[in-house]
């Protein structure tokens, strides 16, 4: 702990805020790259980056790079500022691969120019958005209408491969995305990804229209499967910003519901994977078992999915004692049936052949891209927000974090399978240990311009929300970063050299939740590098066989 602080100070970083959870470090433009590199080498990975227009406050634009240093159990937020007339910040992408998308997004919505960025392409704004209009700037009203601009798109045709457009409407995808896969016979020679078909502008909405207490409900609707995690994560971000302690009972209730969400999300994923592998019977059985979990959720909260249970300061409703028995009974059944299903499937040779040694993501690559959740744990990285930055009731509970070294789809499969049983165990502990008391802090102050970082372990990985509070119950800046955002750049890496038939399984193995996400990358198979525009165009122009 002390070490990391020393490292920061030695590299021209000024620690301005020190919380349990995170350090806010101010660093100048000249030193940000070196500091980022040093922190990466010290074991931190790039979690996300947030751009912010702070001109009303101090006349500067700011870029917050958030790194996760598990060893010291802290998030390190590097804040770099630039004035409006000289809106340039050195890019740290050459040092840390994972910063690629965050910087491109900040450029898109705020206009910050990142010098030295290898691929300064448009990321989240649609193709027909006019240049020079930056929606997240404070002088852009949230309901301002923009006239679309026609742009001529050049379509790629490869001489050495078939161009297969996958999406946005493809049976293998559950949300609209676009993967352009270059296929040579049946082998994938490369992949291009373009997303953000369902970018909804929630961040701008939060700044403009919503109050600090309404945002949890919007946050819950970011995702169709893991909404509650987002709700909690946001609440935690604000609670961390204003250093609010949530009552213990509320923490336990939050944990209970988070784990139930994890179980149902994982079982859903298993069903989807079986379907992608052609084993529809497994799909049907998995979802049948999942129904029991949904019934538990409905019994506890009144809703199958969008629980609506949490607010800043606690939870909204309490849990009855007599529901405990029913919950435990149902979970026991789920556990038994899932065990049987898993054993049966693992005995099926043809399924194993499709997921073993398929979609390899080497450990070092995983670290530099910054993948999270089961994807990281399947590549041998022991990372879990519940252990690294304990939140809610996890600090009082006992559980294991499954880590597998296979780096393939099978490893991620096994990680999620183990997690289901761990979650059931966690719920049993929660129901056993739940203390009495309040469930909500009724009154609290929200100081202006407090920075907060909240992190939870969603079923898909680390979910990070970044909040800067504002006066009058508003929010100055809100940035939800879903786990799939960090996992998607690894997909082209995993796809290269694999069979086309395995592509759905590989894409599915990161458990993509595109609603949470939406961003873009291009990868060249032959060199394994994430390609940026120049080299990509060269590769396409080269007449190679």
């Amino acid at each position: 702990m002390q070490d990391i602080k020393r490292v920061i100070e030695e590299n021209n970083g000024k620690i301005v805020v020190e919380h349990d959870y995170f350090l806010l470090v101010e660093v100048s433009r000249e030193h940000v790259r070196k500091l980022a590199r040093t922190l990466f080498e010290a074991g931190a990975y790039y979690s996300t980056g947030v751009g912010s227009d702070e001109r009303p406050r101090n006349g500067f634009f700011a870029m917050y790079h958030i790194l996760n240093h598990e060893e010291s159990k802290k998030y390190i937020v590097l804040k770099v500022e630039a004035p409006e007339h000289d809106l340039r910040i050195p890019s740290i992408t050459p040092e840390i691969e994972g910063a690629n998308w965050a910087e491109r997004e900040a450029h898109d919505v705020l206009g910050i120019v990142f010098e030295g960025h290898p691929e300064p392409e448009r990321l989240i704004l649609p193709d027909d958005w006019p240049e020079g209009v930056y929606p997240l700037r404070k002088d852009f009203k949230y309901n301002e209408k923009v006239k679309p601009v026609r742009k001529e798109e050049k379509f790629i045709e490869r001489e050495d491969a078939l161009v297969l457009p996958l999406g946005p409407f493809h049976p293998t995808l559950h949300e609209p995305e676009y993967f352009e896969i270059y296929v040579d016979g049946e082998t994938i020679a490369g992949a291009r990804y373009k997303g953000f078909f369902i970018h909804r502008g929630l961040e701008k909405l939060a700044e403009g229209r919503l109050t600090i207490h309404q945002i949890p409900f919007v946050a819950e609707r970011i995702c169709g499967i893991c909404g509650y995690t987002h709700m909690i994560c946001y609440c935690q971000a604000v609670e961390n910003a204003i250093e609010l302690e949530v009552p213990e009972r509320a923490e336990y209730i939050r944990t209970l519901l988070l784990e139930i969400e994890r179980i149902h999300s994982h079982i859903l994923w298993f069903g989807v994977v079986y379907h992608l592998l052609g084993f529809d019977t497994g799909f049907m059985h998995a979802w049948r078992i999942r129904e029991k979990v949904m019934d538990i959720a409905e019994m506890l909260t009144g809703n199958r999915k969008t629980y609506g249970m949490s607010l800043v300061g606690g939870v909204r409703r309490d849990i009855d004692e007599d529901k405990k028995e029913k919950t435990l009974k149902a979970l026991r059944e789920v556990s038994q049936e899932m065990k049987k299903l898993f054993n049966d499937v693992l005995a099926m040779k043809e399924i194993l052949n499709r997921i073993e040694d398929v979609g390899i993501l080497p450990k070092d690559r995983a670290r530099s891209i910054g993948v999270v959740g089961p994807v990281a744990r399947g590549s041998g990285i022991n990372t879990d927000v519940r252990k690294d930055h304990p939140y809610a009731a996890y600090k009082y509970l006992d559980f294991k974090v499954p880590v597998y070294n296979g780096c393939d789809v099978l490893s991620r499969y096994l990680v999620r399978a183990d997690e289901i049983f761990e979650s059931i165990y966690l719920i049993e502990q929660v129901l056993d240990q739940m203390p009495g008391g309040d469930i909500m802090v009724e009154r609290f102050e929200v100081p202006e311009f407090s920075v907060g970082v909240g992190a939870t372990e969603a079923p898909r990985g680390e979910d990070v929300h970044f909040v800067i509070t504002h006066r009058g119950s508003k929010v100055y800046r809100w940035r939800p970063r879903a786990p799939t955002y960090n996992n998607l750049p690894s997909v082209p890496v995993m796809l290269e050299g694999e069979h086309l038939a395995d592509a759905p399984a590989i894409i599915g193995s990161i458990d993509p939740c595109f609603s949470c996400t939406d961003h873009v990358t291009i990868v060249d198979d032959s060199t394994g590098k994430i390609l940026f525009r120049g080299p990509l165009e060269d590769a396409i122009r080269r007449l190679k066989r």
Binding site: E157, A161, L162, D184, G185
Partner: protein, 639 residues
Amino acid sequence: MIPENYIVTIPIVLFIVASLAIVLKKETSVKVSSIISAIGSSTLILVSFIGFMHDIDVKYVIWDANGSSILSSLCTVHIHIDKLSSIFVGLTGIITLLASVYAIKYIEKHKSGYYRLLSFSYPLTVLTMYLLFVSWDLLWLLIFWELLTLFSQFIVVFKGDKEAISGAYQYFTITKACADVLVIALVTLIIIVTGLKTSYDDVSLALWAYFSGNKAIGYLLAILALVGFGAKAGLAPFHTWLPKAHPAAPTHISAILSGLIVKTGVYALMRTFLVFFPTDATIGLIVASFGVLTIIVGNMRALAQDDSKRLLAYSTIGQIGYILLPMGAGIYLMGIGQTLLGGFALVASLYHTINHAFFKSLLFLTSGSILYATGSRDLNIIGGLSKQMPYTAFAALIGALSIAGVPPLNGFVSKWMIYSSLLPSATVISLFGIIALAMSAVTAAYIMKFFTAAFLKPPKVKLDVNEVPGLMSATQIIAAAFCILLGVYPNFIVKVCSDALISLGYPISYESFKILPGVVLPNTAAFMPILVLMAVFLLAPLLGLAVGVDRIDNTWTTGYPRPTSAMTSFGYYKDLREGFSEYYSISKELLAFARRLSSAILRMSSSYEDVSYDLNTMLYGAAVFLVIGIFVILWGVIS
């Protein structure tokens, strides 16, 4: 009626006249030569008809030499057209007619080349081929054989680029090297066996008698003949020149090369094994084995090709296997007493020869049209040509379906005959039949690759393409018509082939085939099966057009508004080829072995060359050879 000897002579005169076009200017000379050759080809068709009806026998005496000796054989050109020869002459006439007409327009596309060489050599090639088919003397056969190699090599090299020259060179060397072996075989044959007589009648009589006594030497001669004639036919493992020479030649020449010139090898093999040699089961087995090997080698290699003409060249090799396999199997079956199936197999072999001449030249002509229109042979980048070249596409489709063996086209008939005769026999021939049946699936695969890559899949590079000129189109359509005709009315050809074989003395009867009530021969079942199959072909498009299309929309690219894309040619069947990777690596191993062998031979020959500069050694060596040679002759004369 014009006396026979004049009829036979007319084509000779016409072709010689055609070759005189060399005096004209470049392109014109080729055109004139082609036109006159076309007329000559028509007369060839006439000759073949007459020859089939009743045999023609003509002798040209150069100068009178008494007695029967090699010298006197050389002084007289004995021409005799029997039913077998007339089939081949007829084929030559039709195919070269189509090719010559095609050439008239095709030659315009070429910017450079040895025009005069082409206009001179082309008619002479056809001429020597004709004379080869009709000569009735072994020595003259040899002479025309060598002349054919010479002239055809010249027409291969027309384009004059590196590919053409190396192709022609390979062609020349391998067939020359093998032809030399051939020479030794034949010379030995003549000297030992016939007592210096070289007319076919004498040769077959003498060999038949000889064979029963000296089986070993007989087998040796058979193998030598197989190698020597087989190389010209494209028999594996002597086929390596074919994929280099056939694509390099201009299209109408490729059509003739694949359609006819390899048939000269087939003809020579047929003459040798069906006429000269008695029906011996072992020889049949050897021929059949080489046939099966050729089928496997040719078809597997064709699967991996991306160049339209090379693909067709390898396909030719494979199809020659389909000709030799039933030939050998027929001889074998006859030899072990199964005359019905054996005869059927022999008829199948001859039928397939005819079929192959038609659909292979058709396919080459269409690939030439593709080259003419797009300037490319690369199946990777061309595509979608069916929209802009509908007639060529139709002809190519017929050709592709024929070679794939789809009923009711001609390929199906001959292949069906091959399987019907080979599979039921309780010998290893049945296994060969299974391999042939399995390989026909591979044939269908690669020819569909050719057709879809060129005509159906979208192009990778936008090409501005027009349909080929009417003259070229017409030749393709006529060839396609032949393919269809030979498929829906097979009885005629079966009768022709059976008669030809009967005239060679085989105990076959067309009537006897009818106890196999089959798809080929009606009047024994209550219907004509082939007509039923025709219904599919005609009814389906009618139904399709009747249903029609309600509306045309963009190609579905899963919602992203981009144009469609095309598969590369080397992407086809990748998994299939990887599944057969052991086979492909065997051939790599063999190739490496062959290379080491040939370099060893080269080293030996260069050391020989060193030695040859030493006069003493040479004299001693020559003396030794002379002694051996005299000894052999004396021994032959005495015994």
